[in-house]
Symmetry: C2
Subunit: 378 residues, 2 copies
């Protein structure tokens, strides 16, 4: 007798261990941004050993990397076999998403990490063939940063200078995946999206320590955007998610006068105590900050804590989960008091970091608000 | 002391009970087709009573309906509050998806069912404002069926008659949700999509018994398409999913000469024994077939079983899960032998009905194949 194969499903023990991550894996339904399908998760988690579910361990995420790399490679094979532009595009989008999850929380080998991140980039750019999305690449020699200006064909064809939103990565997001997904709401509203990668962000993650003092990068980017005839440099907004939300608060404080509004998705003025960071976050911060394995980053966290200071020269919106264990809500309450009517705080009582169960509705409402603020006042 | 609210998550007991359904809930990442976000599922399943998880019961699906109706209403409220076309479109897409899951497996009250299905329709059509998708509605007075021809603006602007794929619903799918999602792969490849609703399908579900002998409807639709200058009536394909895949096999046999190829996603020549149908399927079939509660549909199933007969006048592709408990694979093996080189059978050993973990890759490959078959031979 031959054995009947078992039905493919996300195993219950994996859902139990990783349930917190599912809203991140699914993120936002998107048009250009790579996104996995449920079956990709099922295939990646199927047969995962039950005895190695320590999410703080390198071992878990190394196995995870192998499994998502397999998914990615099955998508690149699908792309190669496809005889249509649309087929290759969709398959490469699947590959880009799977490569992102492959490198997610993997920090063992910088070369492997960077190769995976490069593959996200290559697959994503390949997936844009045949779409109406146009990517204009630029670099910021002063600070070593890079950026993309994203517009659709129809937006460029209008010939008018466009309002724009500048979007910042968090610590472990991919420019092509989460930041691209966030950008789509703006593109749909006729707003150009500027995706930048400062030191330690995107492809630069693990190459140079992430720059928490990101203001010089944003200042250089602003200089550049002012010389760009396609962009209406007096109609700019800034938004960031997670650590990018923290950066958004810094930008609001230091460069607020250049932006009509600033949005902070899930960041806060202070990171939680390093010692108490759950899951893989200690190593995540160590990797991004270029610290040694085992290093205590509390002194660095202390330096980075933002004193609210006087209210910024722009309107700021923060959206936060009351159960956030990375940027505790308390810091935002203090900042909200200090910044008074220049700051709005939206707190979701049952949400954790970046309120991912609600991302579809809060990004929609936020994009509507930003659209209103960026309207042509001429 | 106030109680700390619990973090919102899909509860483990709900994942355990409903895990089989998650690939259906997430289906295909789509651009126009309504699709839920993970957080919608979390909100719908949060706090679901642990003592009523009998998926064969009306009680479970009635509660399920209430919860998804709440989700849908939160999306319609979001649409009303939105000040942008893009915001309303995205919110209405969310509402349409949630209304579909609300009516899913709910059969208690035909009026409620039909109202929910009408809302899917209204929200979906509303969500197309500002997109480039154009819907041309038509009706088939002879058989009481209706259809949509879907094209993008760019496809219509070409002025050339377009190849087209005719897509059929299954028993409990929604034209606007699953069938629309399947249509997108064709639109991306420059192929018009014709979505029809025969008696008992789509908005007609529960109004008239589903017509298993769907060939006269398809024949009337073919007549109509031949008079449509925008459609190249000699470049047609037919595809259906689940019960629509069964219908596709009938169409291949009776009307094969009108289609360059026919695709059967997860259907088969014979339905499993009525007595042994799992979960809510007995009531699902009873509702669609207009049978009394408690009725035994085995005699009807016996009538409907397709004898393969001689090979059809067209090329047929069937994609099936070896663990399918609705259309058992054995029937397809018989048909595959009988139809010989006019039939290709792709069997996925670890997949159940409609192989939903693999839907992204098999729909991509199938759309590529259909594109090749529909190429202009002139």
């Amino acid at each position: 007798m031959t054995e009947t194969p078992e039905r493919l499903r996300v195993p219950e023990h994996m859902y139990r261990a990783l349930g917190y991550l599912f809203p991140r894996l699914m993120f936002l339904n998107a048009r250009y941004a790579p996104q996995v399908h449920w079956g990709d998760i099922a295939a990646a988690l199927d047969g995962f050993p039950t005895d190695d579910l320590d999410l703080a361990s390198a071992g878990f995420w190394n196995l995870w990397r192998e499994r998502w790399t397999d998914r990615a490679e099955s998508y690149t094979a699908l792309a190669e076999a496809s005889g249509t532009v649309a087929g290759r595009s969709r398959a490469l989008r699947g590959a880009a998403a799977a490569y992102h999850w492959a490198e997610f929380q993997y920090f063992d080998d910088r070369t492997v990490k960077q190769r995976l991140r490069q593959r996200i980039r290559d697959c994503f750019l390949g997936s844009l063939a045949g779409t109406d999305l146009q990517v204009t690449e630029g670099s910021l020699p002063g600070t070593g940063a890079g950026y993309w200006v994203l517009r659709t064909e129809a937006m460029r064809a209008s010939g008018e200078p466009l309002p724009a939103v500048v979007l910042s990565n968090g610590l472990d997001s991919a420019t092509e995946v989460e930041v691209m997904a966030l950008a789509e709401a703006y593109l749909e509203r006729g707003i150009a999206a500027v995706l930048f990668e400062g030191p330690g962000q995107g492809l630069r993650l693990g190459r140079t320590p992430v720059l928490a003092e990101m203001e010089p990068v944003v200042a250089e980017l602003l200089e550049k955007l002012r010389t760009e005839p396609g962009i209406a440099a007096d109609r700019l907004a800034f938004a960031g998610i997670s650590f990018g939300g923290y950066l958004a608060l810094r930008v609001a404080r230091e460069l607020g006068e250049h932006f009509r509004c600033v949005v902070n998705f899930g960041g806060g003025p202070a990171i939680a105590k390093f010692d108490g960071l759950p899951r893989r976050l200690k190593d995540n911060f160590r990797f991004a900050f270029g610290a040694e394995p085992g290093a205590d980053l509390q002194p660095r966290f202390d330096e980075l804590a933002i004193e609210p200071g006087p209210a910024p020269a722009t309107e700021v919106l923060s959206i936060s989960g009351a159960l956030d264990d990375i940027f505790p809500i308390e810091g935002l309450y203090d900042l909200d008091r200090a910044w008074s009517d220049r700051h709005s705080l939206e707190v979701h009582p049952r949400e954790a970091h970046t309120s991912l169960n609600l991302i579809n509705s809060y990004t929609l409402r936020t994009a509507d608000l930003v659209t209103e603020r960026l309207a042509d006042r001429a």
